[in-house]
């Protein structure tokens, strides 16, 4: 009879091997980048103008986009999972559209709606003198547009997996559906929301196509790291690799540091 060492959780082989493959598949390309990175000229590349500015802007915009996604995406996920709104299946499918849309086309679509001559944008411009494109706001909007679906779908999945009877218990205690949502439903699906927020943040951080099209690429206001990487690719692939690694290092660092927050201890 096999005897496990005391107090260890055993990973069955049928799960362990694919899991190892999965990790390898996701991580080895990163190793490829690290191996080929121009370690000699690293410092030089990091001191090129605008790099840190772009990093700051990336982190800021991705975080704001995540907040926007949470603010609107969580209620949307709740409506999809819990309420009986008509055409739910269609709405759910439409929510995935920004994922499928090639990002450049997504940027065009945003311009068509929010641009100076866009469906909504022309009125914003005319009545309030607000012009969104080519501003930092536009970066946040573009990133929110591509990132929100991740949040919505993860949170909806988590909500469907959660036990609705806790909501019933809250209702019998006199809690309105809003209070129930805030104090019962949401805390119960916190891991799902956290996972969705991480997905959204990471996706926003890496967003490129929609941003360049809708928000443009102006150092200091709209040039995020992926745009800087793209520009660098043209002249010096080495610099592009260095910038990508910087972006990765920062994001991995942030996620590891946040660990205790986004992975609630059970």
């Amino acid at each position: 009879m096999t005897r496990s060492r005391p107090f260890s959780t055993r990973i069955p082989v049928v799960l362990g091997i694919p899991a190892l493959f999965g990790i390898a598949f996701l991580v080895i390309p990163l190793l490829g980048l690290l191996v080929r990175a121009p370690w000699g000229s690293l410092i030089t590349h990091l001191h090129e103008p605008g790099v840190w500015e772009a990093l700051r802007l990336s982190l800021l915009c991705a975080t704001l986009a995540t907040l926007v996604s949470v603010a609107f995406g969580v209620p949307l996920a709740w409506a999809l999972a819990r309420s009986e709104i008509p055409g739910r299946a269609l709405i759910r499918a439409l929510v995935t559209v920004p994922l499928v849309l090639p990002p450049v086309v997504g940027g065009v679509a945003l311009l068509l709606v929010l641009g100076r001559r866009g469906l909504v944008g022309q009125w914003l411009d005319q009545w309030f003198g607000i012009s969104l494109p080519f501003s930092t706001t536009a970066v946040v909007l573009a990133e929110s547009f591509v990132a929100m679906p991740f949040l919505v779908l993860s949170v909806e999945g988590a909500l469907r997996g959660a036990d609705r009877r806790y909501d019933e218990a809250a209702a019998t205690l006199g809690a309105s559906s809003w209070l129930t949502f805030r104090r019962v439903t949401l805390p119960l699906v916190a891991p799902g929301v956290a996972a969705g927020a991480v997905l959204a943040w990471a996706r926003a951080l890496g967003e490129f196509g929609a941003t360049i099209t809708f928000a443009g690429n102006f150092p200091g206001t709209t040039q995020t790291m992926p745009l800087a990487v793209y520009v660098a690719l043209e002249t010096s692939p080495d610099a592009a690799i260095v910038l990508s690694l910087l972006l990765l290092a920062v994001s991995v660092g942030v996620l590891v540091a946040l660990r205790h927050r986004w992975v609630p201890t059970a």
């Binding site: 019998t172 006199g174 809690a175 309105s176 104090r183 119960l188």
Partner: protein, 382 residues
């Protein structure tokens, strides 16, 4: 006088609620119904269709076999289960009336519920669970916490206020659930087996506490329980639910004395038969007949206690009017006595002493004669 502890389902008429209930009876007398409900819930393979009423301050015990629809009835009253027909009125207000398209949401109903599986919020501490209801009703945070602490103290968990439900034992969780439902001081209290997980000693305390609490407030209470003693001690009226229908209803003592279904008879530990009386002889519905002391005519129930059944290895001569051959199915200890389940026409339960079991060599399959004196039987119209 010998000691009788928990579980004695039998009731003498003397033991009416004269002590603590004097005032309540007066209160109730003058008032109309507090809860007045007709519930119909349809499910594939199951229909619940009952009338349920309660006067102010009255405690109604809903008893019945597993799957009879007790929890379903509570859920319907709480607004968690849509009625397919019927109506729920509470203190003159309509909570539910599908025909008139009226349906208050659960949070709009002044109803408190203890769920059969507690449903404590797993991410909140015991204290926060109990404070949740008062908070939802607009009580200030600090005050709600004080209130919750007080309720926890009352159910004996004052020192576990900060434990999460996952860190509570089963009985502790049930006590928190009870405190949580009581803390909102609802006008209708729905308790689904509120004492099932409590240990026997605590149960006595919590039952007494609940008793005191229920007498103190004039809302109605519907209580689901499987424990006959809980029903007897806590309830003013018992409603027996079987397969979605009410099969008997009445004061605890009445129900215990004159059961009208096999379920209730087994609950209170009686042998019960239905049959057609023609003078002193009742022809039973299955088959067989019983001679009784009080002659009557028409459809009747015949009941007698297991302890009234005498067992003999041979056909006895002498006074017992009822005497028929039986075969032992099982023998098990039952309190001080041994309860013998006997197959025959009709089948019957007998309580005998352990000594008798040994003397008669009772094991499953033993052939015997059962004898019941007519004087031991009770007859009442069906």
């Amino acid at each position: 006088m010998s000691e009788r502890s928990e579980g004695t389902a039998q009731h003498s008429e003397r033991s009416e609620r004269t002590v603590q209930q004097g005032e309540r009876t007066i209160q109730k007398g003058g008032r109309s119904l507090s809860l007045d409900a007709a519930l119909r819930v349809e499910r594939p393979g199951f229909v619940l269709d009952i009338q349920l009423t309660a006067r102010p301050g009255e405690v109604v015990a809903l008893i019945g076999p597993n799957g009879a629809g007790k929890s379903t009835a509570l859920r319907a009253l709480a607004g968690l289960e849509p009625l397919s027909a019927g109506v729920v009125h509470l203190d003159g207000e309509t909570l539910d009336d599908p025909a008139a398209r009226v349906r208050l949401r659960p949070e709009q109903r002044p109803v408190g519920v203890v769920f059969q599986d507690y449903l404590l919020f797993p991410h909140l501490s015991a204290l926060e669970n109990v404070a949740f209801g008062p908070r939802a009703h607009g009580v200030a945070k600090r005050q709600a916490r004080t209130l919750a602490q007080e309720w926890l103290r009352r159910v004996g968990l004052g020192d576990l206020a900060s434990a999460k439900p996952g860190q509570l034992s089963g009985g502790q969780a049930q006590r928190v659930a009870l405190a949580r439902a009581l803390a909102v001081e609802p006008r209708l209290l729905l308790l689904d087996e509120p004492l099932a997980a409590l240990d026997a000693a605590t149960r006595v305390d919590v039952r007494a506490d609940l008793r005191r609490h229920l007498s103190a407030y004039d809302g109605s209470c519907v209580l689901v329980t499987h424990d006959p003693l809980d029903a007897m001690v806590l309830a003013d009226r018992i409603v027996v639910l079987e397969a979605g229908q009410i099969t008997q209803e009445g004061r605890p003592a009445e129900v215990a004395r004159a059961p009208r279904t096999t379920y209730v008879a087994r609950l209170v530990g009686l042998n019960l038969y239905r049959g057609y009386a023609d003078g002193p002889v009742v022809r039973l519905a299955g088959s067989g007949e019983v001679t009784v002391a009080q002659p009557s005519t028409g459809e009747v129930f015949v009941a007698f206690q297991p302890s009234a059944v005498a067992l003999h290895p041979e056909r006895p001569a002498g006074s017992p009017r009822n005497c028929w051959p039986v075969t032992v199915s099982t023998v098990e200890r039952h309190g001080d006595l041994m309860r013998v389940r006997l197959a025959g026409v009709p089948p019957v339960l007998a309580d005998v002493t352990a000594g008798a079991v040994a003397d008669l060599g009772l094991t499953p399959g033993t052939q015997l004669w059962a004898a019941v004196k007519a004087a031991e039987t009770r007859v009442y119209p069906a």
